[in-house]
C-alpha cells in the first residue's frame, strides 16, 4: 500500500519535473545544472567561517578577507569572519562556528596547540577544516584537509637572496611583533641565504614613532648597516624615513605589499617586496571547501600549497600596481 501510495506522487513529480525542465525551471539536474556548475553557483548555499589570529585593523588580513569574499560570492557561499590574536579566544570562536553548524571552517594555526582540541571537535562534527597562513607543519596532524600559505622560511630565504642581489653586506631584520614564530622564521630564513651579517631588531608595531626612532637608533649606533628588511609594508615606509633622516646608505626591502608601498618600489626608495599573496590564501581556502563539498577535490593532495613568495621589484611593479590600488595585492 505504502509503495503504491509513494509511486503515484513520484510519477507526478517526474512529470512535473519534465514540465519544469521544458519550461527551463528544473530544481535539479539537466543542462541548467551543468551550466550553473560551470558558472560556479550550483548546489546548496554553503556557510563557511574563517577564524584568524589577526589583530584588528591590519591591512594584510583585510586582503585575505577580500580574497575569501570574492570566492564566496562566486561559489554561492555565506562567508563569516572573526578573529582574535589570543589563542584561547580564537579556539572559542572556532567553537562558535561549530555550534552554528557551518559547512566548513578556515583557521590560521599561529597557535596550533590552542586549537588542537577544538579542531578535533570540528572533525567529530564532520565539519571540514582548511588552514591558511601559518602552521603548515601542524596542519595535517590537526586534521585540516588542506593548507594554503607561505612557508615563512622559504619566503625569508627569498628575501635574503634579494638583499644579496641589491648588494647589502650588513642588514637588520625589523621584527614588529616580538615572539611571533613566523616573524622569527622569516628573519632566520633571510639570514641563511644572505651572504652578509644580519641582526634582528624588535620594535613595537602598534606605535609608529617608536618604530621609527628604534630603526633610527639602530642606524645611528651602527653606520655600517646597508640593508634593512621589514616584515610588513607600513614599517618599510617608516624605515625609508629613518634612512633619509640619518643619511644612511641602507637599502630597504620588505615583506608584504600595499598601494603606497608599490609607489615606493616604483620610485626606487624601496628595493623589493616579498608578497605572500594573502588574497590567494582567502580565495583558495573558500574555493577548496567548496570544491571538497561539490566535487571531492583536495588542492595539493593534502600537502601545503604555497601562495608565495612572489617578488615585486621595480621591473614588475607597474603590472602589480592596479591590483594593489584596489587593495587585493
Amino acid at each position: 500500500m505504502k509503495r503504491m501510495a509513494g509511486a503515484v506522487p513520484r510519477a507526478a513529480a517526474v512529470a512535473a519535473a519534465m514540465a519544469l525542465a521544458l519550461g527551463g525551471c528544473s530544481g535539479s539536474g539537466g543542462k541548467k545544472a551543468e551550466q550553473d556548475a560551470e558558472a560556479g553557483v550550483a548546489g546548496p548555499r554553503l556557510k563557511i567561517a574563517m577564524i584568524t589570529h589577526s589583530g584588528p585593523g591590519d591591512t594584510f588580513w583585510d586582503i585575505v578577507q577580500k580574497g575569501a569574499k570574492a570566492a564566496a560570492a562566486k561559489d554561492n557561499v555565506e562567508f563569516l569572519y572573526s578573529a582574535d590574536p589570543d589563542g584561547g579566544k580564537q579556539a572559542q570562536l572556532v567553537q562558535t562556528a561549530i555550534d552554528q553548524k557551518v559547512d566548513g571552517i578556515i583557521v590560521t594555526l599561529a597557535k596550533p596547540d590552542a586549537l588542537k582540541d577544538v579542531l578535533a571537535r570540528a572533525r567529530a562534527a564532520n565539519i571540514p577544516v582548511v588552514s591558511i597562513n601559518s602552521g603548515a607543519d601542524r596542519s595535517a596532524a590537526l586534521g585540516a584537509v588542506a593548507h594554503f600559505g607561505q612557508d615563512e622560511t622559504i619566503a625569508g630565504e627569498a628575501a635574503g637572496e634579494q638583499l644579496e642581489k641589491i648588494g647589502a653586506t650588513k642588514a637588520v631584520c625589523v621584527i614588529h611583533e616580538q615572539g611571533n614564530v613566523g616573524h622569527e622564521a622569516r628573519c632566520a630564513g633571510a639570514e641563511k641565504t644572505f651572504g652578509g651579517r644580519m641582526e634582528n631588531l624588535y620594535v613595537q608595531g602598534t606605535n609608529m614613532p617608536q618604530v621609527k626612532s628604534s630603526i633610527t637608533a639602530k642606524l645611528q649606533s651602527d653606520p655600517g648597516i646597508d640593508g634593512i628588511l621589514t616584515l610588513g609594508a607600513p614599517f618599510a615606509a617608516t624605515a625609508v624615513d629613518s634612512v633619509e633622516q640619518t643619511g644612511s646608505s641602507a637599502k630597504v626591502g620588505t615583506f608584504d605589499l600595499n598601494k603606497d608601498l608599490i609607489a615606493s618600489v616604483r620610485n626606487g626608495s624601496i628595493w623589493f617586496a616579498v608578497d605572500q599573496q594573502p588574497y590567494l590564501q582567502g580565495y583558495l581556502a573558500v574555493d577548496e571547501l567548496w570544491l571538497l563539498k561539490t566535487n571531492g577535490n583536495v588542492i595539493g593532495g593534502g600537502r601545503p600549497v604555497l601562495t608565495g613568495p612572489a617578488i615585486v621589484t621595480k621591473d614588475n611593479a607597474d603590472t602589480v600596481a592596479p591590483f594593489a590600488d584596489r587593495g587585493t595585492r
Binding site: G55, G57, D58, Q178, Q204, N207, A217, S221, P234, T246
Partner: protein
Amino acid sequence: MSQAVLDVAADERLAGRSPLRRLAGRPEVGALLGAAALFVFFALVADSFLQAASLSTVLYASSTFGIMAVSVALLMIGGEFDLSAGVMVTTAALLSAMLSYQLTLNVWAGVAISLALTLGLGLLNGVLYVRTRLPSFIVTLATFFMLAGANLGVTKLVTGNVATDSVRDMDGFASARAVFAADLDVGGVQVNVTVLWWLLFTAVATWILLRTRAGNWIFACGGNPQAARAVGVPVDRVRIALFMGVAFTAWFSGMHLLFAYGTVQSGEGVGNEFSYIICAVIGGCLLTGGYGSAIGAAIGAFIFGMTNKGIVYAEWDPDWFKFFLGAMLLLATVVNLVVRRRAELSR
C-alpha cells in the same frame, strides 16, 4: 609670651626647611636622579649614545610619549585615569586623514574638524564620568573599546580598506607637516619639532599647576574632592577640562602621526595608554591622585624614551629587550620612591 614663641618653634609645620630639603620634597626630584643615573649608565655602556644625532633620536622617542604624558599626568593629579588616550590618538589621525581625503579638503580643514571632534570625545569622557559617577577606569575603558571598534569599522566603511589613503600629495600637507612633524636643523643635527612642542606643553602645564587657581583646583580635586567641593572648587568642571586636555594632546599626537607618516593604520595605538601612565608614574605622580608634576611626567617620558632607545644603542641581545625595559623602569621608579620617602621623613 616666651612660652608662645617656644610653642611656635616646636610646631613642625612652621619649622623652616633648608632649600635643599624643599627641593627634595618636589615630586620630580627622584625621577631626575633616576634619569641622570640612567643617562650616565647608557653613556658608559653604549658607544654611540652620546652622539648628538643619537640624543636627538632619544628626545624624539621621549617627546612622542611626553606630549601625552603631560595631560595624562594632570588628569592623574586630578585623581583620574584615561584608558582611551592611546586609541584616541589614532582616532584623531584617522578623522583628519579621512575627512581631508574623502571630501577633498585642504588638510588643514581636516585638522581643524578633527580637533573639534577629538575635544568632543574628551568632553564625552568627562561628562560620562561626572554624570554616571562610575570610576573613570570603567568609563574610559568603555570609550577605549568603542573608539578601537569605531577606528576600524568607520575606516573600513569609508575607505574600503583598514588603512587611510595617503594625504601626502594634498594641499596643506607641507605646511601641516612643518607644524606637526618637521625636522629642524639644530647645529647640523636633525631635531624633530615634537621635542619643542613637548617642552612647550610641559611648561604650560607647569605654569597652570603652580601659578594659577586652576592648578590649585586640580590638586584639590585629586587630593580630596569632597573637601574641594565644600570650599567651592568646581570639581566636575575641572575634571571635564582635564579629560579634554588629554583629548587635546591626543589630537596633537594624532596629527604628528598622520603628517609624519602620511597614512594611518586603524589598529594602531592600543596599549600606548599604559606607556603614558607609566611615564607619569615614573615622574612622581601618585596613582591615587593629588600629587605629581608636569615636569616629572616629562622626566618620566625621558626615562622611558632613553631606556627604549638606549637598549638599541647598547646592542644588547634583543630577545631580552622587554626584560631590560622592565628592569630599568623598576630601577628608576625605586630611586624615585627612595628619594621621596627620605624627603618626607626628613621634614
